[in-house]
């Protein structure tokens, strides 16, 4: 940066008073060109910005359903399947 300021000031013979202003301009310009956060934030899986709001709302919606109690008949169903299988396994075990 220093090198560039010097170069420019040398070339264009900018009055010394304008130098801070010029430094500021160059700094802003550099920040824009840097592939920093501003440029890369969108490439991640979890987006920032407006689509981050979408992600949050999607997660909230999903979680609200996840947090609902599991309907009792699912648990009953699993128990029944388990029992039926235990019986079948016993028979199997007898013959094997």
């Amino acid at each position: 940066l220093k090198y560039r300021i010097n170069k420019r000031t040398d070339e264009k013979k900018v009055p010394i008073i304008l130098e801070p202003f010029l430094t500021l301009c160059i700094t802003i310009g550099d920040a824009r060109n840097e592939p920093g956060d501003l440029m890369t934030y969108n490439k991640k899986n979890n987006d920032a910005g407006p689509s981050d709001a979408i992600s949050t709302r999607l997660k909230d919606y999903y979680q609200s359903v996840e947090q609902e109690p599991i309907p009792g008949h699912f648990l009953g169903l699993l128990e029944k399947l388990d029992e039926a299988e235990a019986k079948a396994a016993k028979k199997d075990g007898d013959t094997e």
Binding site: N45, L58, Y61, Y62, V65, E66, E68, L81
Partner: protein, 190 residues
């Protein structure tokens, strides 16, 4: 070579992991079908299928992804059987809008639910699997039976689609209202 004659310990692990996956599986079903009663049918069918096919499941691999795959296939085969019948979600919306004043928090989800229901199925499942169910792009691709790149592009299309829809629905002075929006969207799709 170990034979897959699942021992009782393996079976109880299978059952325990299946139980643990149920809330997420059910949320996926609700997101896909937009309707709790259809979703619960889907989950029940998935439990039965998974149980009968549990010898095909390789212990140590991703049971959650396996269950989601079964549920997804069930969903599409039901859709195919139903033909081009409009989903029941419209009736449900009216019903839920009537309940809304009792549960104010639900209103916020209602907008989102309506928007989600308007997405094409492939985009909806992709964005839900990656954005809410906690799957990686690779796992989601496995569940959907498509390439990772396809999932990525569906997710990004779904996100921009949702952004558009939710911005518009923010000012509901014009355009279809909550209960008619999904029907209008459907008729454009068909």
């Amino acid at each position: 070579v170990t034979k897959h004659h699942a021992g009782s310990e393996e079976k109880s692990t299978f059952k325990r992991e299946m139980l643990a996956a149920l809330p997420s599986l059910r949320a996926f079903a609700v997101s896909l079908s937009g309707n709790r009663s259809n979703a619960d049918d889907l989950v029940q069918d998935t439990i039965l299928k998974a149980w009968s096919k549990q010898d095909q499941f390789e212990p140590g691999t991703n049971l959650k992804a396996w269950l989601f795959t079964i549920l997804r296939n069930e969903f599409y085969s039901k859709m195919r059987k139903k033909g081009r019948e409009v989903q029941d979600s419209d009736g449900l919306f009216t019903q839920q809008m009537a309940q809304a004043p009792a549960q104010l928090g639900a209103l916020d989800f209602e907008d989102f639910k309506v928007a989600l229901a308007q997405l094409p199925e492939d985009q909806r499942e992709a964005v839900v699997l990656v954005g809410a169910s906690g799957f990686s792009y690779e796992e989601a691709a496995e569940v959907c039976g498509c390439a990772v790149g396809t999932v990525k592009s569906r997710v990004s299309r779904a996100r921009s689609h949702l952004m558009e829809l939710l911005e518009v629905s923010g000012s509901s002075d014009y355009g279809p209202d909550h209960s008619s929006a999904p029907i209008v969207a459907k008729s454009f799709h068909n």
